[in-house]
């Protein structure tokens, strides 16, 4: 047998051994690794913001006693946001409980306390922000330039860590009071 006809076999053998060796030395547990996913962490941030923001009493009514967390547009959180809200409510002894609403229409923003604007809405972000100006609502998004365009909190990722910008002026403009601890962690934009 000449060496040329052996070539496919050699390539195959290398590929297979690579496959088997890599599979063999791999520990079965890393697939379920302890690295959270981006939107799991963002869901925890979103529910966490409720601890650091004070809404005016006018933002609530008898029918709307809970802090309503609205997601406008394509919902990126999977189950993470619902789990985070359910767990926050379970632990709460005092203070307002939370609920999640997925909304599509701009009119529905009036009933929200936190508005997460999905990236799917980037083409109408200015319209969304204009609507939000009329209510006591904390606007949050992952969109680039969100804070620059008049949004309040903007997530960004650096070296696979989630950080956020905040513009305290626009937050206070909506009669919301940001806690000093929140401003300490965030990157302030003026």
């Amino acid at each position: 047998m000449n060496i040329l006809s052996m070539r496919p076999f050699i390539v195959f053998a290398i590929t297979m051994s690579l496959l088997i060796v890599l599979t063999g030395i791999t520990s079965p547990s890393y697939g379920a690794s302890k690295t959270p996913r981006e939107y799991q962490l963002k869901a925890v941030f979103l529910t966490g913001f409720t601890k650091f923001i004070e809404w005016p009493n006018a933002a609530f009514s008898k029918a709307n006693r809970r802090i309503t967390l609205c997601v406008l547009g394509k919902h990126p959180f999977g189950r993470a946001l619902n789990i985070a809200v359910a767990r926050t409510n379970k632990r709460k002894r005092k203070g307002r409980r939370l609920k999640v609403r997925t909304i599509k229409k701009l009119k529905q923003i009036a009933a929200c306390h936190i508005l997460y604007v999905s990236k799917s809405e980037r083409r109408r972000r200015s319209t969304v922000l204009r609507y939000a100006q009329h209510s006591h609502v904390l606007t949050v998004s992952d969109m680039k330039h969100f804070v620059k365009n008049g949004g309040m909190i903007q997530f960004y990722t650096r070296r696979n860590k989630v950080r956020f910008f905040i513009n305290p002026k626009t937050v206070r403009h909506a009669d919301l009071e940001p806690h000093g601890n929140l401003l300490r962690i965030a990157d302030i934009v003026r």
């Binding site: 379920a32 959270p36 939107y39 869901a43 860590k161």
Partner: protein
Amino acid sequence: MKTLLKKIFWCSYLLVAVFATTAHGTPLDEEEAMIEYLQGLDFDELTEVEVTLDEVFDVFDGLIKKRTVKVATGIEQSMARAPAVTTVITAQDIEAIGAKDLTQVLETVPGLFVTVNNFYDPQYTMRGNSQVLMLLNGIRINNTYNGDTKELGHMPSVHSISRIEIIRGPGSAVYGADAFAGVINIITKKADEIQGTQVGIRTGSFDTQNAWILHGDTWGDFEVTAAFEYSTTDGHREIIDSDAQTQLDGKFGTETSLAPGPINVGADNYEARLDILRDNWLFSVNYHAVRDQGNALGYSRALDLFGSNTTDLFNANLTYHNPALTEYWDVTAQISYQRTSWDLFQFVYPPGAFRGAFPDGMISNPVTSEQHSRFDLSGFYSRFNNHLIRTGSGYVYDDMYKTQHLTNYVSGVGGPMLATGVGEPMLDRSDTPLVFLPETARQSWYLFLQDTWTLTPQWEISAGIRYDEYSDFGSTTNPRAAIVWQPRSNLTTKLLYGQAFMAPTFMQLFVQNNALNKGNPELDPEKIETWELALDYRATETWHLSFNLFRYEIEDKIIAAFDPKDSNTRFQNVAAWESEGVEFETRWKMSARSSLLFNYAYQDTLDAQTNESVNTAPRHQAYLRTDWLLFPNWFLDTQINWAGDWGRPSDDPRDPVDDYTTVNLTLRYKDIHKGSWNFAMGVRNLFDEDVRQPGPLNVPNDYPLAGRSFFGEVRYQF
């Protein structure tokens, strides 16, 4: 040795499968635990937590994620509820399988089989029928010369594809002409998917090289996407043992055939695209050119090693989309212009043909150039509760503005004769009655209406109708209807009915000076009527099944047939087909680091008059794809394709082509953290299986496809 290799492969495959399947945790509890852990941290600790960026390369979740389609009705809706049988292929799928071109992507779809014609151009055959409408970002690509999508070549480069939405079944009620056996809509990546600049190079067997660059960013108020790609290949150069010239050599006692010899399927591809988006306005330009494309066996089915063909496609489109023009109207308006041309320089028969009458070979150089101008306006109206109404209208001007034809022969009584001396310019038939096709144009306009009525959360009915009027062959009306029943959130059943039409092509209407077939201006459109029953079941969070049955009937099918009136062979609406079949697919995320996709399709398509199979594709096809995360950042994708039972016409004495199985492997290193390298290497047709598709009688050993090939790829994201 091959069988031994195969045995080793299958054993290891099973071993790894078992290993990967058993080594999994429970993903649902994991998520709760993770949230609990994160909620236990302070805010400043949270900002230090390292995360896996979503949507980057989670091929395992990606496979079973609920997918949405827009192609079925024009609005984005879940695949399960869309009133059509659809498949969605994402950029992640394309990357995982290491595909080089559209053909390698589309062969993963159940019920879609990629065949080759005499030019070795891919034909996307759905359920036994290759009459498919191709769209690029929703804009028609098919030409009016022969309905083909040759100008698309292998475009667009798969690296710039965001997703491909495929309807198997009729789409004329939405898209009009040619949405006959199915619709393929290729959607390219937008700025937010590229986020910066991506570059890549790829090299592989058959002297194939490929380089691309994608850029997407926001410049002020503008969102800009640009893509460039170049590729070159010599093609697989498989050997054709005997061709049409071999048969003629037998008759004349000559030895001029180039067979046995390698087939020329090489080509150079150039591609450029620019999208500019601002608020409601999108402007896009696409250019694609193919140079030096081998003619393979050409029209005559005689090996052509000296000729080549070039194609050009250019289109520019301006789209205005306002999702809230008024409270209840979501409106889209679009103007588009497209220009395509095909320039074929063909050695119909090789040098020395016809007992030496053609010392340089018998040469034909036809050119077709078309332009299409379109205006479309459509909108969704949501005034009525539980109804979503869509309506639209448009106008199209199809212009075959240039046909040219040069030959070095004329037809004589005893066969072709040399028209001009050796070394002299060829006979120019352009703009004379001798040209193969007169320059011609047609106009058409349409109107459609569609309603989706949600009776209860479980029941949805959609119905649509479209009227098309053409200046040359008249009008046609095509309805469709669907009943969607979703008794539980994880189970959907659909009953679908639709009609569609295929507009007669300019070739079928007007081709002339051709001994084989003549155009027929009296043609009517071909019609198809399709019934489908589809089932979609999400058995668990990680295991999905879908199953569907179909039946269609084509009438007034256009074929070249003998006309006793004047003893000519011309295109006529005389054939009829009927077909039925099933498609089945399952997707399973086996563990946090492995997933599996399997599909199987069966189709039996008959000529309704003779009750014989049309043999346009194998009756059975099956596909298995598995993805494994072998080691952090190391992904292995395995694909197994099987095709079986591809018959021959009853007057063909040859044995049917062999069933075949091909195996492809792609090993990829990808750091799912942003801003890093991505390497891949792979092998296609691992066992070098001799894959053949049935050829005509004068190519007795059929059409061979590529043997084993390797590739390597590097990408970098800035």
